[in-house]
C-alpha cells in the first residue's frame, strides 16, 4: 500500500521537523549559556524501497578541536600575566613617590646630616637627625614588611589556586567517567557533558599549563605541561599538592607518585599559578634582596663612620643603626641604634674629644657617605640603589601589565573565533525554525493529501 507509505513518509517528516524545531529551540535557549556549543540536526533520507522518509540521528556539537586546544594555551598565558600583575601590584604602592616613602625618608636623613654638619652643637639639629634616621628605618621596615606580605599573599594564592584546580580535576574526572558510560549507551547524547568538561578544562588552563589529548573515539585525557596525566582516559584523577618548601619558605607544587611526593613546579611555567611563582621568585624576590642589601650596606657604612667619631660626651665607638648580622632580613631589622636613640648628644659629629662641641669633622665624613658608592659592590650610592629598585620593580610590573593586555586580547580573539564556529546565532536559529515550520506544514499536507487520496479510493469502490 503505497498511500500508507506516503502517510508514513509524511509522519517521518513531521517527526524530523519537530526534532529540528527542538534543536533550534535548545540552541536559542542556550544562546547565553557559557561554554555552550551549538548543535546541528543530522538528517538522512531513508531509501524508498526501505519504506522511505527521513530519519534523524542524534544532534552533534559544532566545534573545532584545534581551536579548543589553542585556546587552552592562550588562557594559560593570560593567567600567567594575571598572576604576575596580582603579585607585583603591591610594588606600585610600596615604591610610590609619596611623603613617607623610602626616597623622601632618605632625602630627609641626608638633609638632617647636612644640618648637623652645619650646626654640630645645635640640639635641634641633633634631635632632627635622630628622628630622620628613625623615619628612614621605619620607611625601609614598612617597605620590607609590605614585600614580605606580598610574598605570603603570593604563596596563599598558589595554595588556593591548587585547591581549586583539584576540585575542578575531580569534576573533570567524574564527567569523564560519565561520558565514558554514556558513549557506550546507544542514543545517549554526551554533548552537554562534554560542554561542561570543556568549560572546566578552560578554567584549569587559566591556572596551569594543561593540554588535552582526545582521539576519534572520544578517549580523553588531561595532561600537565604535556608530560603527565592529571586526568586519565578512565577518568582517574591525579591531584596536585601545594606544600611549603622548608629551605625557601615558599610554596611549591608536588604530585604524589608511588607513595612519595615529586616536585612538579618546573612544569608549571604559565597559568596564574605559574605567573604568581615567576613574579614571586623574580621581581618580588629581587626587590626584597635589593632592599635588604641597601639597608645592610647603608647601615654598615654609616655605622663604621659613626663609630669612628665622638659624641658630645667624648665617647666613641657608637653605632648609628642597628641591623642584622648579614644582608638577609636587613631591611626589616633596621633600627635606630640603642647607642644613640633618645640621646642626641651621643651622635658622633666630632672626630676627637678635643674640640667639642662644634667639631663637625665626623659629621662631614658622614655627610660624604651620601655620595659614596657604598652598596651593590661599590656600584651604587644609597640614592641610586633605591632609584634602581624603583626602576626595576616598576618595569617588571609594567611588563606584566602590558603582557596582560596582550594575552587578554589573544584570549578574546580565540573566544571570538570559537564563538564564530560554536556559538549560537539567533538569526540562524530563527531561519531554521522558519524552515522546520514550513517543513512541518508541508508534511502535514502530505498526510492530508494521502488521506484524501485514500478517501477517494474508498469512495470509488462503493
Amino acid at each position: 500500500m503505497s498511500l500508507t507509505k506516503a502517510m508514513n513518509i509524511g509522519r517521518s517528516g513531521l517527526l524530523a521537523a519537530q526534532h529540528g524545531t527542538s534543536v533550534a529551540s535548545q540552541n536559542i535557549a542556550n544562546a547565553a549559556t557559557e561554554g555552550y556549543t551549538r548543535r546541528t540536526v543530522n538528517l538522512s533520507s531513508v531509501p524508498l524501497d526501505h519504506g522511505g522518509g527521513v530519519k534523524s540521528a542524534p544532534s552533534t556539537r559544532v566545534q573545532d578541536q584545534f581551536l579548543e586546544r589553542r585556546s587552552l594555551g592562550a588562557r594559560a598565558n593570560s593567567g600567567e600575566a594575571e598572576g604576575r600583575v596580582q603579585t607585583l601590584q603591591i610594588l606600585d604602592t610600596i615604591l610610590a613617590d609619596e611623603p613617607g616613602d623610602i626616597g623622601s625618608a632618605l632625602d630627609g636623613f641626608e638633609s638632617a646630616l647636612s644640618d648637623l654638619s652645619a650646626q654640630p652643637s645645635d640640639q635641634g639639629a641633633r634631635q632632627a637627625l635622630l628622628s630622620n634616621a628613625q623615619q628612614l628605618s621605619q620607611a625601609i621596615n614598612s617597605a620590607a614588611s609590605g614585600l614580605s606580605e606580598a610574598r605570603v599573599a603570593a604563596n596563599d594564592s598558589i595554595v588556593g589556586a591548587v585547591e581549586q584546580v583539584n576540585r575542578q580535576l575531580d569534576e573533570i574526572g567524574a564527567l569523564t567517567r560519565d561520558i565514558n558510560i554514556a558513549r557506550n549507551t546507544p542514543n545517549q547524547d554526551t554533548g552537554d557533558l562534554i560542554d561542561q568538561r570543556n568549560r572546566l578544562v578552560r578554567d584549569v588552563a587559566k591556572a596551569l599549563p594543561v593540554t588535552t589529548v582526545e582521539d576519534v573515539k572520544g578517549n580523553f585525557s588531561l595532561k600537565l605541561g604535556g608530560s603527565f596525566n592529571l586526568v586519565d582516559v578512565e577518568g582517574g584523577v591525579r591531584k596536585l599538592q601545594a606544600n611549603l618548601d622548608a629551605t625557601s619558605g615558599d610554596v611549591r607544587v608536588y604530585r604524589e607518585i608511588s607513595g612519595r611526593n615529586e616536585d612538579v613546579t618546573r612544569f608549571i611555567n604559565s597559568g596564574t599559578i605559574g605567573g604568581t611563582m615567576t613574579a614571586r621568585d623574580g621581581a618580588l624576590s629581587q626587590a626584597q634582596t635589593a632592599l635588604d642589601q641597601l639597608a645592610f650596606d647603608m647601615a654598615s657604612a654609616y655605622n663604621t663612620q659613626h663609630s669612628a667619631g665622638v659624641g658630645l660626651d667624648g665617647e666613641t665607638g657608637r653605632n648609628l643603626f642597628e641591623v642584622s648580622a648579614s644582608a638577609q632580613g636587613a631591611a626589616s631589622s633596621l633600627r635606630l641604634s640603642a647607642d644613640v636613640a633618645g640621646q642626641p648628644g651621643n651622635l658622633a659629629a666630632a672626630s676627637s674629644g678635643g674640640s667639642l662641641p662644634s667639631d663637625n669633622r665626623n659629621a662631614l665624613e658622614l655627610l660624604n657617605l651620601r655620595d659614596r658608592k657604598l652598596t651593590n659592590g661599590g656600584v651604587d650610592t644609597a640614592q641610586s640603589a633605591f632609584s634602581s629598585i624603583v626602576a626595576g620593580a616598576g618595569s617588571s610590573l609594567r611588563a606584566a601589565m602590558d603582557r596582560q593586555v596582550q594575552t587578554d586580547a589573544a584570549v578574546g580573539q580565540m573566544d571570538a573565533l570559537r564563538e564564530s564556529i560554536s556559538g549560537v546565532s539567533t538569526d540562524d536559529e530563527m531561519i531554521s525554525l522558519m524552515r522546520y515550520q514550513r517543513a512541518y506544514q508541508a508534511s502535514l499536507r502530505v498526510i492530508e493529501t494521502a488521506d484524501q487520496m485514500l478517501q477517494e479510493l474508498l469512495n470509488m469502490r462503493r
Partner: protein, 294 residues
C-alpha cells in the same frame, strides 16, 4: 566570520570596559596633574624623578647651611668691625699720649679709656650667635677669651659644606685675630698701653703704637677672610637656588601632565565612551527574532 549574539555582546562589554578605563586614567591625570603617579606608569621617568627629588632636597639643605653660615659670618664680621674701631681709637689715644705736651694726669685719664676699650674688645671677642661663641673655633661652647685675655678656644675653625664638595671655614679663630698666634696679642698690647700710660712711660706708649698697628692688621686680614667666606656663601646660595629650581622643573617635566594634553586626552576619552555607550544603547540590533512571522 560568522558573528553570533555572544560575540556582539562580548565586544560591547570589552569596548565599554576599555573606554571606561581610559576615561578613569585621563580623569585621574587631569585632577592630580600628574602623568606618572606610580612606578609602573613610567618606570624610567619615576627613577629619574627620584634623583631630581634628591637633588631638590640637597639644594634646600644647602640653602639652610648657607643661611646659617651667612648669619655666623656676618655677626663675626660686624664684631670685627667694632673691634677694629676700638683698636683705632686706642691707637689715637696712644698717639695723643705720646706727644710731650700731655701731663701725667691726662695720661692716667687716657689709661682709663684704654682700659674701657680693652674690656669692650674682650666683650666683642666673646661675641655669641645662636649660643655659639663665634671666635672660639670648634670649642664654641665656652667663652674663648678669659678676663686676662688668654685664649682658651680651639685653634681650628669649624668647616661648613656650603655646596657639593665646597667647604669653607666658619669664621676665623680668635687666637689668630687677637692672640699671639696672629703675631700680636692684642689684649697684652692694650694692657701694656694702659700700664705705660699709668706709669707715664712715653717710650713704652710709643712702642705700643706698632703693637696696635699689628693688631689692626690682624683684624683686617680676618675680615678679608670672612668677607671671602661671605662671597663664596652668596655664590653657593644662588647655586643652591638654581639647583633647586632646576630639580623641580626637571622632576615636573618627567612626572607632571601637561594641562593642555591632559584636558585634550580627557575630552577624547569622554567622547569615545559616549560613542560606545550610544552604540551599546542600540543593542540588540534588529534580528529575525523580533521581526519574523512564524
Amino acid at each position: 566570520v560568522r558573528v553570533t549574539d555572544s560575540t556582539m555582546y562580548a565586544q560591547m562589554r570589552a569596548g565599554l570596559a576599555t573606554r571606561r578605563e581610559h576615561l578613569e586614567r585621563a580623569q585621574s591625570a587631569a585632577i592630580s596633574g600628574r602623568r606618572v603617579q606610580k612606578p609602573s606608569d613610567d618606570p624610567a621617568a619615576m627613577a629619574k624623578a627620584r634623583s631630581h627629588s634628591a637633588q631638590e632636597s640637597r639644594s634646600i639643605a644647602n640653602e639652610r647651611t648657607v643661611n646659617v653660615t651667612l648669619t655666623a659670618l656676618q655677626v663675626a664680621d660686624s664684631a670685627l668691625d667694632q673691634i677694629g674701631e676700638s683698636l683705632a681709637r686706642a691707637r689715637e689715644l696712644a698717639l695723643q699720649a705720646s706727644s710731650g705736651t700731655i701731663s701725667a694726669e691726662d695720661r692716667s685719664y687716657l689709661a682709663n679709656e684704654v682700659e674701657a676699650l680693652r674690656s669692650q674688645v674682650l666683650g666683642l671677642a666673646n661675641t655669641q650667635e645662636g649660643g655659639r661663641y663665634v671666635f672660639a673655633g670648634m670649642k664654641d661652647g665656652d667663652s674663648p677669651f678669659g678676663a686676662d685675655g688668654v685664649y682658651n678656644g680651639d685653634t681650628e675653625a669649624q668647616q661648613v659644606e656650603i655646596s657639593k664638595g665646597l667647604r669653607i671655614p666658619l669664621g676665623v679663630t680668635g687666637d689668630r685675630i687677637l692672640g699671639a698666634a696672629g703675631g700680636q696679642d692684642v689684649f697684652a698690647a692694650l694692657s701694656d698701653l694702659t700700664s705705660a700710660l699709668r706709669g707715664n712711660d712715653v717710650d713704652a706708649v710709643r712702642a705700643s703704637l706698632d703693637q696696635l698697628d699689628q693688631g689692626s692688621r690682624q683684624v683686617r686680614s680676618a675680615r678679608v677672610d670672612i668677607g671671602g667666606g661671605i662671597d663664596a656663601t652668596e655664590v653657593a646660595r644662588s647655586v643652591a637656588e638654581r639647583g633647586r629650581d632646576q630639580a623641580v622643573a626637571a622632576r615636573s617635566a618627567l612626572l607632571d601632565a601637561d594641562p593642555l594634553d591632559a584636558f585634550t586626552e580627557l575630552s577624547r576619552a569622554q567622547g569615545a565612551l559616549e560613542a560606545a555607550v550610544a552604540v551599546a544603547a542600540q543593542l540588540p540590533p534588529p534580528g529575525l527574532a523580533s521581526t519574523a512571522r512564524l
